[in-house]
Each structure stands twice: as structure tokens, then as C-alpha cells.
């Protein structure tokens, strides 16, 4: 299974290390062509304003939306979750509009408010370790959006069909639970298309 990782700017290497540990093949995505042949795509943490400009200028934004429409699995962490959200606040910002939710940027404050916490999840019995770095908050999850983990009463990990979004950074922990879940999503896409031959 091959997972593309948007490698414009941000913690793309941390995602690659975790996916490779789980046996997945990874590819850095900087141009639309880099996404060809991928079963899933990760939008890593970083600066969403910087990443969004890049996606629009390189023509990657359209390609990613089409990838999602064809059932390709996408996982956005932190800045990546902001890129996926339909509605971005504080300040208002455009997005790929792939998940019906409202996200408030830098909702906890500046870097000094960054922290490592634990929150309940439906993916396993124990609470999930969550690393928040200048993290956003999901203020509203629309109909059809499943909440898979929470922190302080707010959704922190959400899913709608093939799209997964986390306001925290599972890639900066030792816990592979969330990435395993994502690989299952990408795997079911792979099965649906060409009996294993990946497509975009």
C-alpha cells in the first residue's frame, strides 16, 4: 500500500516514519503527478496558510479534491485538518472543503499553550495521547461526521467516510492507533479500485 504525504512544509517526515514502521510505502507529494498511484494521502501539521497557498499555486488542491471524490483516503493532522474543514475561523480562511465541520485556528493560544494531554477514543480502551501544537479546535461537526476521539468535550479526531481529521499530532507519539485506522481506510479504497491496483 502506498501513502502520499504532502511534503510542502511541516512534519511530513514524522508521518513517513510512523507509516513505514507499520509497513506502508510512502511518497513525498509536491506536485499533482506525485499523487498518482497513491492509495491514501496525509496532510501533515505545519502552517495551514503556507500549505494552502502552495496547494492552490501548484494545482494540487483540485487534484486532492478529485482524489477524495474517487474514494481515496485522506488524513489531515492539525494544519491538515484545517485544510479539510468546510468552515475555517480565526481568521477566516479558504480550504479544500472536504469535511463538514467548523474549525477555529490557534484556538488554545500561542505556542506557550501547546501541551501533551490524553482524551477518550472509540478506537481503543485506553485514552489516546494527544500532542497539541498551536492546535485548532473543532467547534462544530456536521451531520454524518463521526467523532472518534475527544479532548475537553470537543471533537479531536473525526471521520466522514474516507476522510479523517485530527486536531492533534498522533505522528509525534509512539502510539500507532490512529495511523493503523487510516491504513485500514486506505486499504478499503484499494480493494474497491482495480482489485489492488491503486489509482487516482
Amino acid at each position: 500500500m502506498k501513502i502520499g504525504i504532502l511534503a510542502v512544509q511541516g512534519d511530513f517526515e514524522a508521518h513517513a516514519a510512523m507509516l513505514q514502521q507499520l509497513g506502508a510505502q510512502t511518497a513525498e507529494v509536491r506536485t499533482p503527478a506525485d499523487l498518482d498511484g497513491c492509495d491514501g494521502l496525509i496532510l501533515p501539521g505545519g502552517e495551514s496558510t503556507t500549505q494552502l497557498k502552495f496547494l492552490l499555486e501548484e494545482g494540487l488542491a483540485d487534484k486532492i479534491v478529485k482524489f477524495a471524490e474517487r474514494g481515496g483516503a485522506i488524513f489531515g493532522t492539525c494544519a491538515g485538518a484545517i485544510l479539510l474543514a468546510k468552515d475555517v475561523q480565526h481568521p477566516r480562511q479558504d480550504s479544500l472543503n472536504l469535511m463538514d465541520m467548523t474549525v477555529v485556528r490557534n484556538a488554545y493560544g500561542r505556542q506557550i499553550a501547546s501541551d501533551v494531554v490524553r482524551g477518550p477514543t472509540v478506537l481503543k480502551k485506553e485514552p489516546l495521547e494527544m500532542v497539541f501544537i498551536r492546535g485548532p479546535v473543532i467547534e462544530r461537526a456536521g451531520p454524518g461526521v463521526k467523532v472518534l476521539a475527544e479532548y475537553a468535550g470537543k471533537p479531536a479526531l473525526v471521520q466522514r467516510e474516507n476522510i479523517l481529521a485530527a486536531t492533534f499530532h498522533p505522528e509525534l507519539t509512539d502510539d500507532t492507533t490512529v495511523h493503523e485506522h487510516f491504513l485500514r481506510l486506505a486499504g478499503s479504497h484499494r480493494k474497491r479500485t482495480n482489485g489492488g491496483k491503486s489509482s487516482t
Binding site: 504525504i5 511534503a7 510542502v8 512544509q9 511541516g10 512534519d11 511530513f12 517526515e13 514524522a14 513517513a16 516514519a17 513505514q20 510512502t26 511518497a27 513525498e28 509536491r30 501539521g45 505545519g46 502552517e47 496558510t49 503556507t50 497557498k53 502552495f54 492539525c78 494544519a79 481568521p91 485556528r105 490557534n106 493560544g109 500561542r110 505556542q111 506557550i112 501547546s114 501541551d115 501533551v116 500532542v131 497539541f132 501544537i133 498551536r134 499530532h169 509525534l172 507519539t173 509512539d174
Partner: protein, 306 residues
């Protein structure tokens, strides 16, 4: 993609939660460009051009060089205006060893503090004990020993010193090559050689042993000092820099907006010469550079700190 462990991450111990979120923010800046700005208007230009963070300072290094005098932490009013103008992280510089300036910047809640040789040092022996702070620090280094001493004191990011304000990339190249080749050497050494090597480097043994195992710094390794063109950014990225700081190079050029964008593009597509070519198209004149060999010892910024 080759298997690469991310920094600060990988040899079992991740350290305290505080350390993890400090190195975590540095991880988020990888692949990007951090630009020096002296006011809110420049900060907005930098953000619009795709900078992943800005460094707030009173004068860019080339002006500090020209005007002389004591260079200190920037005015709080200016830093605050910049913090209120952009949503990307805001960094600010303190003088080497000036922990009271650092306290002030932490109280102001800047996102990153640069203990920088570009400002006039406040202490010629001691750097700040950076473990005491919740806000992460970046420090300059000319070689591996210097980098590891700063990490030992709690720096969550290392950048080459280069020669700030010179518009000349030669020192940044020298420092990046030194750090990378010294790390490579450590990976080839036997355990019983590492104590002597730690003594030679003047670096903590534990960090030396860690690098002998991983071959890379336990924190992100960025480049700064003299980067003025898109090709300069591509050069240091290809030599191992995980992100790029650009100081005087942007706002001392004839075309700051276009140049800022072009440097961002080249830093991302550093391995693709066509993209770096595109970044250079339509660019005007770069800042006027200095031949660092013509500079006297007292004019060098990189020799500040140890």
C-alpha cells in the same frame, strides 16, 4: 522515500512533554522559510509570500552591520504589532546570555526565541539555560560541538550561523558541511572512541552517543546567515538544511515580494532545478553582498558565542 526518523523522536526516549512540544513546533516549520521582518507590513508580505514563520527584529543584520552600536531585543511594541498582524508563528531575538530579555519575550508569548549572535552578546561565557523556558529556543552553530552544547542547554532547533547580513552564503555552507560531516564521522566510530571525540568536540557525551546511533541532530537542523537568492536556499537545503532562515536577503533586495515568494518556492522544490529556475525568472537584483574574507575579525558575527 528513504526511512528517516524525524528529529527528537526515535531512540525510545521522547523526553518530557514540555520538550516534546518545543521540538514539535520546530518539526512543524520544516521545509519552510522563516523571514526577518522589522514591522507589521513586512510581516504581512512575508506571510502572503508563504513564509512559515517570521523573525521580528529592530534592524535586519545588514543594517546592524552598517550602523553599528549595540543591537538589542526588538521593541515590544513592534513585536506585538507583528504578533497581532500574522497568524504564522512569530519569533524574536535575544542577546546571547541575556536571560532577562528571554523572560520578557516569554511573558509576551512569542512562539520561538532566537538566542542570536546577530545581537550584541550580553554574556561572553554563558548562554541561556534554555531548559527553564516553556517557549522553545533556536541557536546558531558553526560546527557540531557548538550545536550539541546549545542542545545540551535546551535549544529545540539549531541553525547554522552563516555570516548574517553579508548576503554571502559561503559561511552557511561551511557550517552546514561541518555539522553534517562531523555527524557522519560519529556514525563510523566505535563506542570506545566516543568519549575522546566528545572531548574533542566539547560536547555532552550522551548527545555524541545519540548521534553516533542516529546520524542526525535530535532537533531540527536549519540554515541561516547570508542566504539571498532562491538558488542559495536550494543549495543549503541540498546540503542537509531542513528549513531556511532569510534575513536581510528579502527586504534589502530590489523586489521583496517577488523574492520572498521565489525563495519559498525554491526551498520547497530544492531538488527540482526546473522549479528553482522558475523561481529565479523575473527576479530583480539581489541585495549587495560582502566578501567575508575582506571583513575584519571584529566585524564577524559568527564568532560571537562559542
Amino acid at each position: 522515500m528513504e526511512v528517516k526518523k524525524p528529529n527528537g523522536h526515535g531512540n525510545g526516549s521522547k523526553g518530557s512533554n514540555e520538550w516534546r512540544v518545543k521540538v514539535g513546533l520546530a518539526e512543524m516549520l520544516k521545509g519552510g522559510v522563516i523571514m526577518d521582518v522589522t514591522n507589521a507590513e513586512q510581516a504581512k508580505i512575508a506571510e502572503n509570500a508563504g513564509a512559515c514563520a517570521v523573525m521580528a527584529l529592530e534592524r535586519v543584520p545588514s543594517d546592524i552591520r552598517k550602523e553599528g552600536g549595540v543591537a538589542r531585543m526588538a521593541s515590544i511594541k513592534v513585536i506585538r504589532e507583528i504578533m497581532n498582524t500574522v497568524t504564522i508563528p512569530v519569533m524574536a531575538k535575544v542577546r546571547i546570555g541575556h536571560f532577562a530579555e528571554a523572560d520578557v519575550l516569554q511573558a509576551l508569548e512569542v512562539d520561538f526565541i532566537d538566542e542570536s549572535e546577530v545581537l550584541t552578546p550580553a554574556d561572553e561565557e554563558n548562554h541561556i539555560w534554555k531548559h527553564d523556558y516553556r517557549v522553545p529556543f533556536v541557536c546558531g552553530a558553526r560546527n557540531l560541538g557548538e550545536a550539541l552544547r546549545r542542545i545540551g542547554e535546551g535549544a529545540a532547533m539549531i541553525r547554522t550561523k552563516g555570516e548574517a547580513g553579508s548576503g554571502n552564503v559561503v559561511e552557511a555552507v561551511r557550517h552546514m558541511r561541518a555539522i553534517v560531516s562531523q555527524m557522519k564521522k560519529l556514525t563510523t566510530m566505535r563506542d570506545d572512541e566516543l568519549m575522546h571525540e566528545a572531548k574533542e568536540l566539547g560536547a555532552p557525551l550522551e548527545l555524541v552517543r545519540q548521534i553516533a546511533k542516529t546520524g542526525k541532530l535530535p532537533v531540527p537542523n536549519f540554515s541561516a546567515g547570508g542566504i539571498a537568492t532562491p538558488a542559495d536556499a536550494a543549495l543549503v537545503r541540498r546540503l542537509g538544511a531542513e528549513a531556511v532562515f532569510v534575513g536581510s536577503g528579502i527586504f534589502k533586495s530590489s523586489d521583496p515580494e517577488a523574492r520572498a515568494k521565489a525563495v519559498v518556492k525554491a526551498a520547497t522544490h530544492f531538488a527540482d532545478p526546473k522549479a528553482v529556475l522558475e523561481a529565479h525568472e523575473e527576479l530583480g537584483e539581489a541585495m549587495r553582498g560582502l566578501d567575508v574574507r575582506q571583513l575584519e575579525e571584529k566585524d564577524l558575527l559568527a564568532t560571537r558565542g562559542w
